[in-house]
Symmetry: C2
Subunit: 200 residues, 2 copies
Amino acid sequence: MTRSVEFYFDVGSPASWLAWTQLPAMAERYGAELVNKPVLLGGIFKATGNNTPAALPPKGRYLFRDLARFARRYGVPFTFPPGFPANTLTLMRILTGVQMHRPDDFGACVDVLFRMLWQYGINPEDETTLRDTLGGAGLDADALLALAGQEDVKQALKEATNEAVERGLFGLPTMFVDGEMFWGQDRLDFVREQLESSDA
Amino acid sequence: MTRSVEFYFDVGSPASWLAWTQLPAMAERYGAELVNKPVLLGGIFKATGNNTPAALPPKGRYLFRDLARFARRYGVPFTFPPGFPANTLTLMRILTGVQMHRPDDFGACVDVLFRMLWQYGINPEDETTLRDTLGGAGLDADALLALAGQEDVKQALKEATNEAVERGLFGLPTMFVDGEMFWGQDRLDFVREQLESSDA
């Protein structure tokens, strides 16, 4: 049986970006399937009473330095978009819709949205910029934004977020391997150890 | 010049315990001086608006599993005392007083208090148990509790905690090496990398 790594993420979460830069290669290395779970971080925070660390000024300042240290360790680009934290409802609806209806575009779409925020530092809330970014990556911006407006897509994102809360999530990224939950990109080494273990 | 690792901790913090199990050997390995900074976590939370992760039930449950994973990785004992989070005001006053007035007892006193909570799972708020624990470790419980009641000691703990907040701390443990701040026992690998670096 193929093992899986479930990956709950929101493209508005900088730690989710860092995890995304590492997980596909890690899953491949251990012959595991990466199961992507786009969910809305704002919805998780609302349901659990948790909040973004950036809400506390000293913690927010430290958080940036901390994430930048990991980015250096991983050798990946990292910046902060203006207006953080951004409202990612439209982006996560797009990803939910693409996963449901245009699955072949999913990986490219996740990647371009993550890079838009965390590599190029672009605030994703302006629709013109978003269209340009999607189009520039060879994706059909009109079709993707239309998907984001579909009722089935909106409902699916809501249900995926609720399911995440029911499963015990309180922040992102969160990974599951063999039923074990790992919260945070700073726990990728434990994800790797779990994949290395003989529990398969 | 000897390099230093500053270690801000409260014995009521399980992550501080895990850091304490690793830092003395790490500092020694790199020829650095471990500078212990007892402070009151409750005071830091009050000043910064931060709060214990255990205040959120799903996060609290995960936190225990997460800390237990690190304890297994380090090969050190780990349990939870009943009544967590405990009021550690008296304990931290004892450590502050010992550091000021009986410095030769400091290391043993820190160790016995940490182990009381996190190895033996004893709630530290009962004075009889606390006396027994200190006495059992060969420490003079009467003298230590008298120190905890001294005005200069109470004031010193308050000032150390305020200084920590002014320095940007919002949680414990927090370490500084070469002016770089590292929050959390899960950042000990970055502390090690800093000690390995050529910034000395």
